[in-house]
């Protein structure tokens, strides 16, 4: 029993990170129909920039803020320099551009930050907290709490504010959004900034647990992609549910089968979704008016 709870707790922790990555996928997908495979690199940059800002003498909160803002700026730059100039190109070409951007970012990170594994201290110490025979790191609570704050914040943003609704309207029908006076290029830029910032925040929160290196982004992108697919690409609720399911399944696989198979969980989910329910758990069947 305590074993199951232990796996569940670690699954939810890592699942919260996947949910944030999936949320990043969802936001850019909604604004532009593009699946941004550089999403994982944003997570890597979040952790990495915090490490180096902290090492340079900045207190941890300031270092984390720097990382989130710098990564969001990089997301905007990526939109302006790589995606926007190719506007009008087929979506597949844009997706390939994002793969190129992710390779570029990873290469640059290897040059700038080196190949070693980096870390910075956990926010509230390393002493595990005991719950019903299982243990959880204080940092895990930061991860889960951070994800909850982001999801609630975004939910309020999208349901309450004019700008949030403008983003929703743009994802619903870009031309119609322009017709009612919405500045859709700005919405695109905002979506890239927010999803890069969210990715970076996930990286900041999880790095004390998983450590970071220049090439951790790929795994985050794949798991986050699996989570977004499972929940239904383009649906924030789906991103949350998908992330948690992928995380828990991964932890169960590692715990009850073998930790060597844990990465396979995400891939089996991708296959299963594509075979049985391509629109995902929360997705809508697409229909065309004739």
């Amino acid at each position: 029993m305590s074993e199951l709870l232990q796996f569940l707790l670690s699954g939810v922790t890592v699942g919260a990170v996947y949910a944030l990555v999936a949320l990043g996928f969802t936001m850019i997908y909604n604004a532009s129909d593009v699946v941004n495979f550089a999403q994982g690199e944003f997570v890597m940059l979040g952790g990495m920039i915090t490490v180096f800002a902290h090492a340079a003498g900045a207190p941890l909160p300031l270092a984390a803020l720097t990382a989130v803002v710098a990564t969001a700026a990089l997301g905007v730059a990526m939109n302006k320099l790589a995606i926007e100039p190719a506007r009008g190109a087929p979506v597949v070409s844009l997706v390939i551009i994002t793969i190129g951007a992710s390779i570029f970012i990873r290469g640059a990170a290897q040059l700038i930050f080196g190949k070693q594994i980096h870390r910075f201290p956990a926010f509230s110490g390393e002493d595990p907290i005991r719950i019903l025979g299982a243990t959880i790191l204080p940092q895990s609570l930061w991860v889960i709490g951070g994800a909850v704050v982001i999801f609630v914040g975004l939910w309020l943003f999208f349901t309450r504010t004019l700008l949030g609704r403008a983003v929703l309207a743009t994802s619903n029908n870009r031309l119609a959004a322009q017709l009612v006076g919405i500045n859709t290029p700005f919405v695109m830029t905002l979506s890239f900034a927010m999803s890069a910032g969210i990715g970076a925040l996930a990286g900041v929160l999880v790095t004390p647990i998983t450590l970071t290196a220049y090439d951790v982004g790929l795994a985050f992108a794949l798991k986050g992609f699996a989570a977004a697919m499972l929940g239904g690409m383009g649906n924030p609720k789906g991103a949350l549910a998908g992330g948690l399911i992928v995380g828990v399944l991964e932890a169960m696989t590692a715990g009850y089968l073998s930790s060597q198979y844990k990465d396979a969980a995400a891939f089996i989910i991708i296959f299963a979704v594509l075979f049985f329910r391509p629109q995902g758990l929360f997705g809508r069947q697409s229909t065309d008016r004739v």
Partner: protein, 256 residues
């Protein structure tokens, strides 16, 4: 007083002159119809005026300002709105939400008061909803307000698009085939509606195939054929013009 003037607009698609050197003007309260056979370039002309296409030549002047090739969201803020032949609505939102989206342009909400749901934000939302419901009532859609837009019939979607455009309080309204796919009763309703909109001081530009509708409500008609303007004038003049009869109405209609 000229509100909108179109000066020598033209565009080529791969060497084919889709529209060539078309000029005309519209004043507040006028209904200007653009007619012509299929493929004459009517929708292309609309797309250039409303900033969807960048014209190859010519200018669009709105209220004294050159707005050529300005993007649709900026035109909307300057009072030029349009509907589309193939419908551009927010399919997965409700009918009411679609129209409310049109009202948001006049709102000056700030993120903080929206997030905290302050009284000012709530009042704005209430005003927008009341305005949207009033427009839906005028267009006979009030009973469909809570339905998802995608579930509406084609004719109702046409009216929904007009309602949303009117929510923006336009000075110039471009309607691309508003009566297409509507039955006789619905067409007559749209007829009244357009007259009403024009009477309120809006310049209405219309592309429409229903000739009876066009002849009845237009104050000015521009005839296109093969992308060029072949005639313009009031309905009586245009319908007597031999070039128009040859190009558009055809031998059958001329004999009637």
């Amino acid at each position: 007083m000229t509100l909108l003037s179109i000066e020598g607009l033209g565009i080529c698609f791969g060497g084919i002159k889709a529209v060539h050197d078309v000029s005309f003007a519209a004043s507040p309260g006028e209904v200007v119809s653009v007619i012509g056979p299929n493929g004459a370039g009517k929708t292309t002309l609309f797309n250039m005026i409303s900033g969807v296409y960048r014209p190859g030549s010519g200018r669009v002047v709105l209220n004294g300002e050159d707005v050529t090739a300005m993007s649709p969201h900026l035109l909307a803020r300057r009072g030029m709105c349009r509907t589309f032949q193939n419908l551009q609505v927010f399919q997965t939102m409700t009918v009411l939400e679609n129209v409310i989206a049109g009202f948001h342009l006049q709102e000056s909400g700030d993120v903080l008061s929206d997030l905290l749901n302050l009284p000012a934000a709530r009042r704005r939302a209430k005003d927008a909803e009341a305005g949207a419901r009033e427009l839906l009532r005028r267009l006979g859609l009030e009973r469909a307000a809570e339905r998802e837009a995608g579930s509406l019939s084609y004719g109702s979607l046409k009216r929904l698009e007009i309602a949303r455009a009117m929510a923006l309080k336009p000075k110039v309204l471009l309607l691309d085939e508003p009566a297409a796919g509507c039955n006789a009763v619905e067409t007559e309703e749209i007829d009244h509606l357009i007259a009403e909109i024009a009477a309120s001081g809006v310049a209405v530009l219309l592309v429409e195939h229903d000739m009876k509708l066009v002849m009845r409500i237009s104050s000015h008609i521009v005839v296109l054929d093969h992308g060029e303007k072949v005639a313009e004038g009031d309905p009586a003049t245009v319908s007597r013009n031999p070039a128009v009869i040859a190009a558009y109405l055809g031998a059958d209609d001329a004999a009637r």
